[in-house]
Symmetry: C2
């Protein structure tokens, strides 16, 4: 037997959610139908409103329903610092560290094999943003992956003659990690980047 | 910093999904906004249509968008067999075994501590359905939990004088299980329910 058409359509649609396969979609659909129809209707409305209402900030290009996001408008932030990240989720991660400069959000990282060159990830807009601003330091906070490193290196080269300090986030041991479990590349970075202990 | 209002509303709404906490909801919201807006809009529409369009079959009380579901209308099924389960998901599970009789779907199991008595789970409707039908056997396929057993026992008592065979699904070792891993109660059932090997 098969599910009735509307239930089948809901199960198929639920599979757009990351990590949701056929079985989870079935359970979720029946759970919502049996236990929480008002919650499901609220979810439908929230999805529609967010997908239609949320765009990108014109200045930092993070997700925002305003033309310019609240982070870019906040007058208390440090206008001399610009942090470059690969996506909006990274902005939230960096915010939790207490960083209070400005941001620029790339659309991912350079990936020539996928046809993603500098234009596709928004490098021209980044250069325009830097020229318009009055930054003294640009922090390259792309992910510490091969593609993220290449993207950081590429951008650093473009900025070489602009009279800016260009920095890269540190690589090393994650807090709570164990030396015997960490990969060799990370440990090599941790050794090379060692610092004197100030007592 | 906090997410913008529409994104925050979407994150909150996503938490109606079973097993989705704050972090998964955030990732899901940003994933949909960045990668699959059309899929998210399809999901919103499917949710609305299903929540508003799917009700319960008048005969077997499973989820159905028609007054009487396709299982109840199918003339090729065995009208002498009735299988009683705790929920719509159980119907799909039993269907996969090749069972081709009729169904009746309770609203869960008896749970006096939660105030769920026979009326709340639909026992009166079950008795009406049995009186209207021409069943020779009623299979009690509630879950093998304390509550499910109590529910099966209670219904079996109600049906004692109706001239029906009342049966309970077998308890024993699940296929692929290991004796040393299974609990004592299951193993005791498996021993007590042993059958002669027919060669």
């Amino acid at each position: 037997m098969s599910f009735s058409p509307l239930i089948r359509q809901l199960i198929d649609a639920l599979r757009v959610l990351p990590g949701v396969g056929q079985k989870t979609a079935q359970r979720t659909a029946l759970h919502l139908l049996e236990r929480d129809r008002s919650g499901a209707l609220r979810l439908a409305q929230a999805l529609t409103q967010a997908m239609e209402g949320v765009g990108y900030c014109q200045r930092c290009r993070t997700l925002s329903e305003e033309d310019v996001c609240s982070l870019c408008l906040d007058p208390r932030r440090d206008d001399s610092l610009l942090c470059i990240v690969e996506g909006p989720m990274d902005v939230y991660a960096v915010e939790q560290t207490g960083y209070r400069g400005r941001y620029f959000v790339l659309k991912g990282h350079l990936s020539p094999l996928d046809g993603l060159g500098p234009e596709a990830i928004g490098v021209p807009e980044l250069l325009k943003r830097i020229d318009e601003g009055a930054f003294s330091e640009v922090i390259l906070a792309t992910n510490p992956t091969v593609e993220g490193e290449a993207t950081a290196h590429y951008i650093a080269q473009l900025l070489a003659n602009k009279g800016l300090v260009t920095s890269r986030i540190a690589h090393g041991m994650p807090l709570g990690g164990e030396l015997e479990l960490v990969d060799g590349g990370t440990l090599a970075h941790a050794l090379a980047g060692r610092r004197p202990i100030s007592l």
